[in-house]
Symmetry: C2
Subunit: 218 residues, 2 copies
């Protein structure tokens, strides 16, 4: 079942000594874990990741010298085989996204149990990604809440036809293009566009597309 080599050599990157030690203690009790290195900032993490024999990095985000995001980018660029498990207190959509884009393989919350950490490590060593369910649920429900607000405030008073036309505008179609596509007159499309601008208090196509993007109408 386990396709990865044992033992797993780890690097714990966290500026808080206590946390690093705690994680270390938890992990060294596991028989699948080999050597455990510790780095107390991002710079040190990069150095050790590139010189020592490391399979997987347990990465904090907020660190002096070089933060977890930048450290992850560098490590993944230089040695893509090294897996990165992010352990963070913040877990809003923006940071999760950034870390994943930086190449992180797993993202778990600092206040979840140790079993979560072990699951994450196992998953990434099998070349799978992992995000703890608590985090993803939070992200989605919060995302959802925000959307409801947007809808209530703004998007609501746009008609379906207007929304449809916004989408085409955002794709770069001109009034004329849209008219052909929807079998309308160009002046009709232009009227819709004008109505939308008036309703939303905007002045031109550019700001309209930005509005649409911000309000996830696309």
């Amino acid at each position: 079942m386990t396709h990865y080599q044992l033992p797993i050599n780890l690097l714990i990157a966290d500026d808080h000594q206590l946390i690093a030690d705690g994680l270390s203690q938890i992990l060294e009790a596991e028989k699948m874990v080999g050597k455990i290195h510790i780095a107390k900032n991002g710079k040190e993490a990069v150095e050790k990741a590139l010189t020592e024999n490391i399979d997987c990095v347990i990465m904090d985000i907020n660190m002096p010298e070089l933060n977890g995001l930048e450290a992850t980018k560098i490590i993944k660029k230089e040695k893509p085989a090294i897996k990165v498990v992010v352990v963070s207190m913040q877990c809003d959509a923006a940071i999760v996204n950034k870390m994943l884009r930086a190449g992180a393989d797993a993202f778990i919350n600092k206040d979840t149990g140790k079993s979560e950490l072990l699951v994450a490590i196992k998953k990434v060593m099998q070349h799978e990604k992992y995000i703890s369910p608590e985090i993803s649920l939070n992200l989605f429900t919060h995302l959802n809440d925000r959307k409801v607000h947007y809808d209530a405030d703004n998007a609501k008073h746009l008609t379906p036809r207007e929304t449809e036309i916004i989408r085409y505008i955002a794709e770069g179609l001109t009034n004329h293009d849209i008219a052909n596509k929807l079998f309308l007159s160009t002046v009709t499309v232009d009227t819709h566009r004008k109505n939308i601008l008036a309703k939303l208090g905007l002045k031109n196509t550019a700001s309209l597309v930005k509005y649409a993007a911000d309000n996830k109408l696309l």
Copy 2:
């Protein structure tokens, strides 16, 4: 622990008889489940949800007459207390988002086990939301893939000045406005704009703003 009333009366909305029956079979074996109603399209689902005594709807998305999205909106508008568990084959970000915005309480994949369904029902009856981990993971990793491509392919070769100008464009400023703000000639701003369009293979301001929004340049 369980704050919800037992038994739970269910409504299964799915146009495929076999699937509806299968779900019904699974669920009626559970002691927490009371009466099980079946609807074979969205319209029927809405009717039964509003007339029968239903606590929770197991909702398919693709259905004739009225799809699961619209049906959910109506049910949630009329009777917000009724919980909606979406069981779908598609689970891309767009549809999950839409369903949640429509008021759905849970979203699970059709090919996950029955335990997943039971967990989801329990969660929603406790007024919690639920998204199966498989789905949220998929969403994030896919999101991730796409972003990496964007970065590598395009956004990289825009100059700082060009990025700066894109931002102003997206805010709705005209060439003239931007020129004043940056102490440039309007033709210079226009040149930048045209260069950006050429670089990115876009044809007008609208598509440019959309590109910027998609690539988080704003």
